[in-house]
C-alpha cells in the first residue's frame, strides 16, 4: 500500500478532535455507513470469476462460494464546518490485491461551496467515470448485486488524488451538471489476472463529465485522459529491446510506460418510479499491451411493491488485436531462438488477456427493511472463443471460450 493511499487517514485523525472537543455550537458531524454481505458461486471450477482486477481471488477454483466479489463495509464521516466548507472521509474495507480486507481511505476531501451550485473539492475525490461509479460500492443504491462487470471492469479505479469542480445549472425544468477532475492515483493489483503483480500508476489525469437530468431521465457523457505506467511489465519489454530494431518496435508499441490512455463513455437512464431502464457504452484505449476495449450493457427492472425483478445484458470486446506475430524468428542465431520464442509466447498470452465475453443476468431485489435489501442474481457468462474472459487464477485444465453460471446472493444496508 503506497503512502499516497494512506494520507487520508491523517485527515480523519485531524478531524476527530475538531468535533469531539468543540465548544458550542458543535459543527455537525454525520456518521454514515454502507455495506454488503455477499456470496457468489461459479460453475467454472478451473478458474476464479473476478469482478475487479484489484481482487486476488474469487469463486470457482479457489472457493466453491466466495464472499470476495461483493462483501464490503464503508464508513463515512461528513463534517460541516461552515455553511460553505465541509469535509468527507470514507474508509472502505473489501477484498484487496493481497486477499485481505485491510481498510483503505476511499475518499477524503474538503469541499468549498462557492455558491450552492458551484463547488470545488480537494483531496481524494471520486473518479466519476461511469454512471454509477461513485456508488458502485454502495450496493443499496443500485438495483443489482453488482454493476454490470463487463463495463465497470473497463476502468476499475474509483478514486483520484487531486481536485474537482462541479457546476450545476438549472435550465427550465432540467438540471445540467458539469464536473471536471484533475489528479493522480496509485492502485496495487495482484497477479491473479495473469499479469505480474504491481502498481498501476495514473498521472496527469483529467476528466470531464456532463450529466443532463430532466424529470426522470438522465443523459450522461464522460471523457478522461491520463498517463499510465505499470512497472511490472518492464522486464518483458527490456528483454524485447535486446533483439534490436524489431524488439524495440514491439516494446515501443506495447510497453505500459507513461502511456497516454483515453476513456469515453455515454449513458442514459429513465426511472419514472414503477420501472427503470438504463444503458451505457464506454471505450478504453490504452495504446499499449492492455489494448483497446469497449463494453456496453442494457438493464431494466420493474417494481412490484418492495420487490424489483431486473434483467441485464452486458458485453465486452477487444477493439485491438489479441495476438501479434512478435519477433521474426527467421535468421536468429540458435542460442537466442528459444528466448525469442518464449518472449513471443508471453506477449501473446498477455494480449489474449483482453476479456471478450457477454453475460445475461436476471435477479430480484427485495427491500425487506427500510435500510436493507436482499438480492439474488443469476448470471450466464459466455466467453468468446479463444478468450479467457473475466476470469483469473487459472488451473491447468481451464479451457478458454467456455461458459459459466454464476449464482449470487447479497444483503445490502445503509445507515
Amino acid at each position: 500500500m503506497s503512502l499516497a493511499r494512506n494520507w487520508g487517514g491523517l485527515v480523519l485523525v485531524a478531524l476527530a478532535p475538531a468535533w469531539a472537543f468543540a465548544q458550542e455550537p458543535p459543527p455537525p458531524v454525520t456518521f454514515s455507513a454502507y455495506g454488503t454481505l455477499g456470496l457468489i458461486h461459479s460453475s467454472e471450477h478451473n478458474a476464479d470469476y473476478l469482478v475487479d482486477a484489484f481482487q486476488s481471488n474469487g469463486a470457482g477454483r479457489t472457493h466453491e462460494w466466495s464472499g470476495a466479489a461483493d462483501t464490503r463495509l464503508g464508513l463515512q464521516l461528513t463534517a460541516t464546518f461552515t455553511p460553505r466548507v465541509s469535509a468527507v472521509v470514507q474508509v472502505l474495507s473489501q477484498q484487496n490485491f493481497e486477499g485481505s480486507y485491510r481498510p483503505i481511505v476511499e475518499w477524503a476531501n474538503v469541499k468549498y461551496e462557492i455558491t450552492p451550485d458551484f463547488s470545488v473539492r480537494a483531496g481524494r475525490v471520486v473518479l466519476p467515470i461511469f454512471m454509477v461509479t461513485d456508488t458502485r460500492r454502495v450496493g443499496y443504491a443500485n438495483p443489482w448485486v453488482r454493476p454490470p462487470a463487463e463495463l465497470y471492469s473497463l476502468v476499475p479505479l474509483t478514486s483520484n488524488d487531486g481536485v474537482d469542480a462541479s457546476f450545476r445549472a438549472r435550465i427550465g425544468e432540467a438540471t445540467n451538471t458539469i464536473q471536471a477532475t484533475a489528479g493522480r492515483s496509485d492502485s496495487d493489483f495482484p497477479n491473479s489476472g495473469g499479469f505480474n503483480a504491481g502498481t498501476a500508476k495514473v498521472r496527469d489525469l483529467t476528466a470531464i463529465v456532463d450529466a443532463f437530468e430532466w424529470n426522470n431521465a438522465v443523459l450522461r457523457f464522460s471523457y478522461g485522459t491520463a498517463k499510465l505506467t505499470i512497472d511490472a511489465q518492464e522486464p518483458l519489454f527490456a528483454a524485447f529491446r535486446q533483439f534490436g530494431p524489431p524488439g524495440t518496435a514491439i516494446s515501443d508499441r506495447y510497453s505500459v510506460n507513461d502511456r497516454r490512455v483515453t476513456f469515453v463513455g455515454i449513458g442514459a437512464s429513465y426511472d419514472p418510479g414503477p420501472w427503470f431502464a438504463m444503458t451505457e457504452w464506454a471505450r478504453f484505449d490504452t495504446h499499449s499491451l492492455l489494448g483497446t476495449k469497449s463494453a456496453w450493457y442494457v438493464s431494466g427492472g420493474y417494481r412490484i411493491g418492495k420487490v424489483t425483478p431486473y434483467a441485464t445484458y452486458a458485453r465486452i470486446k477487444a477493439d485491438s488485436a489479441t495476438s501479434d506475430p512478435g519477433l521474426p524468428l527467421a535468421g536468429l542465431p540458435p542460442q537466442v531462438l528459444p528466448t525469442a520464442v518464449f518472449l513471443n509466447t508471453v506477449l501473446n498470452q498477455q494480449l489474449n488477456l483482453l476479456p471478450q465475453q457477454h453475460t445475461v443476468s436476471v435477479g430480484v431485489r427485495w427491500d425487506f427493511a427500510r435500510s436493507a435489501a436482499l438480492k439474488v442474481q443469476y448470471d450466464r457468462v459466455e466467453v468468446a472463443p479463444g478468450s479467457l474472459g473475466m476470469f483469473g487464477n487459472f488451473g491447468p485444465d481451464y479451457q478458454p471460450g467456455g461458459r459459466a453460471n454464476l449464482f449470487s446472493v447479497a444483503v445490502d444496508f445503509v445507515y
Binding site: 470514507q90 476531501n109 471520486v126 456508488t135 462541479s166 438540471t175
Partner: protein
C-alpha cells in the same frame, strides 16, 4: 314530531355524508408565510427534496425539512410528489451521501416542529397534512 325526526335524519345523514365524503388529509408543501415563494410545481418540490436542486425557481436558497422516517405523512409525501417508494428515496439519498454531494434534509419530529422551523428560517420548505395548515405557513404546492 315526524317532521322533526325527518330533519334529524337529514341532518344526521348530512353529517355522516360530509364525514364520509370529505377528502382525507392531503399532504401539502409549505413555506414560512414570510417567504417570497408563492407556488411550486410537484416536480420543483420533488427536486428540492431529492437533492437535485438547492434553490427555489426564483433563485433563492431552499432548505428542505423532512418528517420522521416511518411516519405516514412522509411516505405519502414522497409517493405523491416524487412517485418514489421509501426505499427508492433512501437509495437516492445514499447515492448523494456516499459521494459527498449532500446530506439528507434535517428531520422535524412532527408537523408542529416543521412549522416552528419554517417560522425560524424563511428559506425552509416542509410538508404537513393540510389539517395542520395555519396562518404562519403558506401552501406552495399540492400533489
Amino acid at each position: 314530531m315526524r317532521f322533526r325526526l325527518l330533519i334529524g335524519l337529514v341532518l344526521a345523514c348530512g353529517i355522516a355524508g360530509a364525514a364520509l365524503g370529505a377528502p382525507p388529509d392531503e399532504v401539502v408543501a409549505v413555506v414560512s408565510a414570510k417567504s417570497s415563494v408563492t407556488a411550486l410545481t410537484a416536480s420543483e418540490v420533488a427536486d428540492i427534496f431529492l437533492g437535485k436542486s438547492s434553490r427555489f425557481p426564483d433563485g433563492t436558497q431552499a432548505t428542505p425539512i423532512d418528517q420522521p422516517e416511518e411516519s405516514a405523512v412522509r411516505d405519502r409525501f414522497y409517493s405523491r410528489y416524487t412517485g418514489k417508494s421509501p426505499a427508492q428515496v433512501k437509495a437516492i439519498w445514499s447515492k448523494l451521501i456516499f459521494t459527498g454531494r449532500g446530506l439528507p434534509p434535517v428531520q422535524a419530529a412532527d408537523a408542529a416542529q416543521v412549522k416552528k422551523m419554517l417560522a425560524a428560517n424563511p428559506a425552509a420548505i416542509g410538508y404537513i397534512d393540510s389539517s395542520h395548515v395555519d396562518a404562519g405557513v403558506r401552501v406552495v404546492g399540492r400533489p
